[in-house]
């Protein structure tokens, strides 16, 4: 079983490739697979008929007791034979149905083949969840196949309708299945049927599962999606929407009937909805012009019939039900394939435009006639045999009173519904044959294209099977009874073409007579149909529901996410205040004791920081606000430093400085004043929301402290740290004990750096900061032209002035002693010799200290983060003192290379331990005595920290390169353009 499913999957994946090679002939190749499986299944037939069961089981998710369990019994084998047999024929038919230039032919073939495999899995799996998985997969494949013509509106609409309806049902079914399996204590379908779940849980579970079944089989009120699905290519309609997928619901009903038919919810759903569907579908089929839609509504009707019969719950009804299922699969797929041929030959499926096809396409007409006759239940065809069985079994149930079987009332009701439905079936079968093939006197013969003869092969086989099966029914019946005997009832009745003059035969004759009456009086019928409002128009109901949901979603979205970012943020904060505020109010765990402060300096520090924060909310000037925020940041440095967190203090100090610089770099380009026009939330409202949020947050923090009862987390960490050859616990945690976190974090940093660079660089983010020899307007490396002064110096000089001035400035620059490599690229007005000297003196020591911090980090404050930030800060200093070319000279390296190397190093040390048989991130050390320095311990965690260092340096470099150097360049370009424009205007 599993093997054939795997082959189905593999061949589906190969199919698009094959299609590219051999075109539409690929269908013949892939048809061999279901044909082969069909043959293999036939070899199992004797064993199954003898009462055997073929099972296969591969453990899958043991924690949930879900396994890839497959079970072939009579019912599963019958369905598998239908799925693979009809599948092979439909695939073969496609060879002549499509042309080589059909768009997306490879995708279509692959999907159709995959569907055959999934359907096979659905009917053979024994685990409810595996079955459900296949169930949903058929929905998805059906969606893709219905939507084959992606360019057509109706195709997309139909595909989405089918998907929405069937997955809605699938969701209900999943809940039902969970109820059943939890209550039943097993996920095996066979066991759930053998030991049915009863009681309230069983009733609800089965009701939900039946919702899934009737949505899949397009029963009322879900009957609208199946006619819509006729937007699919005809082979899809023949296979998915007649023979296979829609039978999944019928299969499930048949599968569960032996265990659950006597539940209270069962008969109302199965018989009432099944019978109603049969009438609604037949009634609607009787007024169709489009032959394919006629068949579609007919299929809805027949599916209702099938559910009614297979779900009835007696042995004879089940026997008749599976016979009807086979008959329907044969005749309905043959009819669809015939319509496909007619459509292609005549270019239309509207029978008002068809005339004289019967005479000119005698073979196709014969096939259509035989299949339609089987649909109408005409002897000597399988449809007749099955319908006789249905009438007999329902009569039996109606007349049997104290048999222990289902109540007699259900039997009579089912019989009446089936009888009326059959009358409609006869009438629309006649309409089909007459509409498709008859010659209409006042209609010119329809012009026809010649179709390849082979296209009729598949429907011919299917129609012939309807005939042959009727005569060989004694040989087929044992397969049916191996399933039907699971249900209660005397095992006497046999399917046969001729039972003698018994009530079922009279019923059949009455059906034909009434059907003929409908046909004879069809003018009256048509008038009545047109004048009556549609019986069940759930299609419009669906549209209404979907559109209402859409509108509701749109209304909610616009109500909640109104007024842009600020409004949406406000809404989130309000929900936060409401939700957590309420939880805080009902809280009981307050801290036992309260300390006002840890040390006397703390309140003063807090006061300054608090005032700065509030001031930041009030001031208008952006730069002032940034500086005030920095006050809180540097305040944090002190708090960390005085509370035993030197690592935090160090890192916070470095980060705060870099953030401040970066902020200034960007702010110098933006307007100074913060615009305050039309604030989305009023000033007072904002302050109120902020105050409430702060209060809630404070209370939560207070409660959290009180709620903590466990001993300190620090327990045991000290020993672990020493084990990891480090005495700085924080650093050991970062690079060893919790290295996964850190790896994740530096990955984020790499992503952020890449994001910053790609936002600023319009095209291409690779490369380092610009080097001296890359300057666009250089004349001579020794006598560079100074850059024009930026707008910081007030009114900008005109271009002519700059040029005149620049020569002199360049002379001055060239003769001056250069402290920084690119210092001479700056305008003399922007240079500060003092800063250049300082930076020159401090840069290299800073780099040395940063490396020192990196290596002592394991035992003292420092580490990769602090070291990397310090190195970054040194680069910041070089850039601020010397401009963008200075940055390129200071770090002549691609920031991306730094980031990549760092990440590679960190990830490499994480995984390299695997090669030595250790776990990921398991550290190892190399210790040695070094003169002067003492014992040096280099571990994999040190390498990891070097990776962190490189990533942080890369991040800072990328930020400077983008927000500093590139922003400079864009500004200069901008100014040059403006100056150029001014010059032109003057000229």
């Amino acid at each position: 079983m599993l093997f054939s499913l795997v082959v189905f999957g593999a061949l589906s994946l190969l199919t698009p490739l094959l299609t590219r090679l051999i075109g539409r002939r690929v269908f013949l190749v892939i048809a061999l697979l279901p044909a082969a499986v069909f043959g293999w299944l036939l070899t199992l037939l004797p064993e199954i008929v003898a009462g055997g069961v073929v099972t296969e089981r591969v453990e899958w998710i043991q924690a949930l007791d879900v396994s890839l369990a497959f079970r072939l019994d009579g019912l599963a084998l019958l369905l598998s034979l239908v799925v693979t047999g009809v599948g092979a024929l439909v695939l073969a038919y496609c060879t002549w149905y499509f042309r080589d230039d059909e768009p997306a032919l490879g995708r279509f073939a692959a999907l159709l083949l995959a569907f055959a495999g999934v359907m096979l899995g659905l009917v053979t799996s024994d685990d409810v969840y595996v079955m459900f998985m296949f169930w949903e997969a058929t929905s998805v494949l059906s969606y893709l196949l219905i939507g084959h013509y992606t360019g057509r509106r109706e195709s997309r609409g139909a595909a989405l309708q089918a998907l929405t309806v069937t997955t809605f049902g699938g969701l209900a079914m999943l809940v039902g299945l969970v109820l059943l399996t939890v209550e039943g204590g097993t996920t095996s379908i066979a066991e759930l049927v053998a030991n049915p779940v009863t009681g309230v849980v069983g009733e609800w579970g089965i009701a939900l599962v039946l919702i899934g079944a009737i949505s899949k089989s397009a029963l009322v009120p879900f009957n609208f999606w199946l006619p819509a699905a006729m937007a699919a290519p005809t082979p899809v309609s023949a296979y998915l929407h007649a023979a296979a997928m829609v039978k999944a619901g019928v299969y499930l009903v048949a599968r569960l009937a032996p265990g659950y038919a006597d539940l209270e919810v069962w008969h109302p759903i199965v018989i009432a909805l099944g019978g109603l569907t049969m009438l609604v579908g037949g009634w609607r089929a009787l007024r169709q012009y489009d032959l394919k839609l006629l068949l579609a509504h007919g299929t809805v009707s027949q599916l209702g019939f099938l559910v009614l019969v297979t779900g009835f719950g007696t042995r004879d009804a089940a026997l008749a039900g599976v016979a009807l299922l086979t008959a329907h699969a044969l005749f309905k797929s043959a009819l669809f394939l015939v319509v496909g041929i007619v459509d292609h030959a005549a270019g239309t499926r509207d029978w008002r435009k068809l005339s004289g096809l019967g005479r000119r396409m005698p073979v196709v007409a014969t096939i259509g006639f035989v299949a339609a006759a089987s649909m109408a239940g005409v002897p000597p065809l399988l449809g007749f045999v099955a319908k006789e069985g249905v009438f007999t079994s329902l009569l039996e149930a109606g007349t049997a009173t104290a048999d222990g079987g289902p109540a007699a009332g259900w039997g009579w009701l089912a019989l009446v519904l089936a009888f009326l439905g059959s009358v409609l079936t006869v009438a629309y079968s006649v309409r089909f044959v007459w509409g498709a093939f008859w010659t209409r006197p006042n209609c010119a013969p329809t012009p026809l294209h010649r179709e390849p003869a082979m296209v009729a092969a598949s429907p011919a086989v299917l129609a012939a099977a309807s005939l042959v099966a009727a005569f060989t029914i004694p040989f087929i019946e044992p397969l049916y009874t191996s399933y039907a005997d699971e249900l209660p009832g005397p095992e006497e009745y046999h399917l046969a073409l001729w039972h003698g003059l018994e009530p079922a035969l009279w019923l059949s004759l009455a059906v034909f007579a009434l059907g003929a009456l409908l046909v004879w009086g069809r003018a009256k019928v048509a008038r009545m149909q047109a004048s009556l409002p549609p019986l069940i128009d759930s299609g419009r109901g669906y549209l209404g529901v979907v559109s209402a949901i859409d509108r509701f979603a749109a209304a909610v979205t616009t109500a909640i996410q109104y007024r842009g970012l600020a409004g949406y943020l406000g809404m989130i904060v309000l929900v936060f205040i409401g939700g957590l505020g309420v939880s805080a109010l009902v809280n009981t765990a307050w801290p036992g004791s309260v300390r006002l402060w840890d040390y006397p300096a703390q309140p003063f520090l807090a006061l300054v920081m608090g005032i700065a924060a509030i001031a930041a909310a009030v001031v208008k000037q952006r730069m002032t606000a940034v500086l005030l925020v920095s006050v809180t940041g540097y305040g944090l440095v002190l708090i960390f430093g005085m509370s035993g967190a030197p690592d935090l203090a160090l890192t916070q100090a470095l980060v705060e400085t870099i953030v401040l610089v970066v902020f200034v770099l960007v702010m110098r380009r933006l307007p100074k004043q913060i615009a305050t026009t039309h604030p989305p939330v009023h000033r007072f409202g904002r302050a109120l929301i902020g105050a409430l949020a702060g209060t809630v947050m404070g209370v939560i923090g207070f409660i959290a402290l009180g709620a903590r009862t466990a001993p300190d987390i620090v327990d045991g960490l000290a020993e672990r740290a020493l084990e990891a050859h480090g005495t700085n616990i924080v650093n050991v945690m970062l690079v060893d004990l919790r290295a996964w976190d850190t790896l994740g974090e530096i990955s984020v940093l790499v992503a952020v750096a890449t994001g910053v660079a790609s936002l600023i660089f319009i095209s291409g983010r690779t490369g380092g900061a610009p080097r001296l020899d890359e300057r666009p307007n250089r004349r001579n490396r020794l006598r560079p032209v100074p850059e024009t002064a930026s707008s910081i110096g007030g009114a900008r000089p005109r271009l002519a002035d700059v040029e005149g001035e620049s020569d002199a400035a360049a002379e001055a620059a060239a003769t001056r002693q250069t402290w920084l490599l690119a210092g001479r690229t700056l305008s003399p007005r922007r240079r500060s010799i003092l800063i250049e000297v300082l930076v020159r003196l401090l840069f290299h020591p800073a780099i040395v200290v940063s490396v020192f911090l990196l290596f002592v980090g394991h035992n003292a404050p420092g580490g990769g983060f602090a070291g990397g930030l310090l190195a970054g800060l040194a680069l910041v200093a070089r850039y601020l003192a010397g401009g963008r070319f200075e940055l390129g000279e200071a770090a002549p390296i691609d920031a991306g290379h730094l980031l990549g190397t760092g990440l590679l190093l960190a990830a490499g040390t994480a995984t390299s331990s695997l090669f030595f048989g250790l776990a990921v991130f398991e550290s190892s050390w190399f210790e040695t005595e070094v003169p002067l320095l003492g014992t040096i311990s280099i571990g994999t965690s040190t390498l990891f920290d070097i990776g962190v260092y490189l990533v942080v340096v890369g991040l800072v470099l990328d930020i400077l390169r983008s927000l500093g150097a590139e922003v400079d360049r864009q500004q200069e370009e901008n100014e040059l353009e403006q100056n150029g424009a001014e010059t032109e205007v003057r000229a």
Binding site: Y542, A613, F702
Partner: protein, 161 residues
């Protein structure tokens, strides 16, 4: 565990001020608010160490009982560095939006004046588009229904199989 009330209050003030600023329209202000909220949250995490002790460095006979809880410190340390990255990223976003829009004085404002109308219109468009797909198939199906007025001649009786 006891709490330092001063730090709790400080955290609340920073958080409240940050949220207040974040609710403004200017993206730069949103970022400033974000920084304040970030600092507030770092204090909150740091608070969870309880009473401060010695630095978590195990040299010179320091025992595990005397040091501050290092776990919040490790969390806060990564948070600080991530804050740097996010700040840079948001600054790049702000600059980019200004550069692209060249809106001058109002460069870093988020649009919101016509937002409501635009969003409603957009939603309407989406609803219309999906409804049009559904209607297309519905019309196709309805078109096949026989109307009495157009009803053609009656089929012959002998057609019945």
């Amino acid at each position: 565990m006891t709490a330092s009330l001063t730090l709790v209050v400080l955290m609340a003030v920073l958080f409240g001020a940050g949220i207040t600023i974040m609710l403004e329209r200017s993206l730069t202000r949103v970022l400033i608010g974000f920084l304040l909220v970030g600092n507030a949250v770092n204090i909150l995490i740091f608070l969870m160490s309880g009473a401060p002790g010695l630095a978590p460095l195990l040299s010179d006979g320091v025992t595990a009982d005397e040091i501050s809880d290092p776990v919040p410190q490790a969390f806060v340390l990564t948070a600080i560095v991530i804050n740097l990255g996010i700040t840079a990223f948001m600054l790049a976003l702000i600059y980019r939006s200004w550069w692209l829009a060249r809106l001058g004085e109002k460069g870093d404002l988020v649009d919101d004046e016509d937002d409501l109308e635009e969003e409603v219109e957009e939603a309407e468009g989406l609803i219309r588009s999906s409804a049009a797909d559904d209607l297309a198939i519905q019309e196709l199906i309805d078109a096949s229904d026989e109307e009495f007025e157009q009803s053609p001649e009656r089929p012959d009786e002998e057609v019945r199989p």
